[in-house]
Symmetry: C2
Subunit: 200 residues, 2 copies
Amino acid sequence: MSSENSETRFRILQAALDLLESGQGNGVRMTDIARQAGISRQAVYLHFNTRAELLVSATHYLDKLHNTDERLAASRSAPTGVKRLETYIDAWGKYIPEIHGIAKALLAMRDSDDAAAEAWDERMRAMREGCQAAIKALHHDGMLNPDYSQKTATDILWTMLSIRNWEQLTDQCGWTNKKYISEIKLLTRRIFVVNETEEA
Amino acid sequence: MSSENSETRFRILQAALDLLESGQGNGVRMTDIARQAGISRQAVYLHFNTRAELLVSATHYLDKLHNTDERLAASRSAPTGVKRLETYIDAWGKYIPEIHGIAKALLAMRDSDDAAAEAWDERMRAMREGCQAAIKALHHDGMLNPDYSQKTATDILWTMLSIRNWEQLTDQCGWTNKKYISEIKLLTRRIFVVNETEEA
DNA sequence: TTCTCTACTTGACACAGTGTCAACTTTAGG
DNA sequence: CCTAAAGTTGACACTGTGTCAAGTAGAGAA
């Protein structure tokens, strides 16, 4: 295993991302990545023990490139729960297309590879925390629909925001990402937020 | 290829279902199925050309065993749109656990195998028709939320009822199937059905 | 009985893709 | 000039799918 910051290492990661971006998902082989990076297949193994490890690293690398954490955390500064929910959906909705390629690959390996599964689950756990925080904020404002416990509301929001759903709505239903974002906002508002006008 | 109704053929299908039922999904190999059926691996190929073909056949076989079509079509006789929506969700919610094992296998092959993808998509198309019919019935009753076109409403309902979502809610969120069904009913009612009391 | 057809068995093999290993080359630094 | 690190080349093991060929067992017909 080489040093953590060698140039070749980044070339490999970049090559992987380039190929995954085109949406091949699991169809991207080690050979392809090596060729794209301009090195031999074996050299890839000098930097990453397994394909799963490479994919996981690529995910982290991509996150750094995109400032993922900060972008998703930005919703924290929203003044109200409703705003916070909206901001979070917005950030997430813009984030999905960027990670879609690699998400697909990771997802496809989930069943057969523990490392991939772990990487994916960790990611989803982080996303869930964002959902939970938004729901909590709503509840704190007294705006959370009393039909739902915070847990149940989080479960539902988390599921609605899943990448699979985004895939289905954009790929199969032909929604634009813009439509996706605005519809989900509407939907979650209708589901989770008590109607102010009704209250008054 | 042997006759379509040989006993061995059914033994193979049953063996496949038995193994898939335990939730291994894509982890079920031809060798495993053969052993479970008590025949040689090669004999399986005398009845099914490929693994995908076997899985597709197993799906059809399972449908026959369960009377799937009739059960899902039962919602058609519901008197109102709202009732129809509920009945459909009920039937679907009871259906999912039964097909979950094989669905998982088919889903995992979707990207790499055209036959599997086709089988899966056909299935989802059928499910979508049920969604569409329910939405149409709602609209006919004048109960469909005017925020939504029938297309958009169908897209959303179809996505919400996806097997992936069921998986996530039951597996990861720990919902019982009963909770799944009742929450989804509540959710869809809140989203799609105009509020009678508001109207009055 | 023998002949033949069919379903099945046994065992070998091609192919793809991952991961391993060993020996060789190139290049930069001391 | 020597060494060590990083990369190259080529071979190989392993898993799982799908193919092929030769052999066997049993049932029905001549």
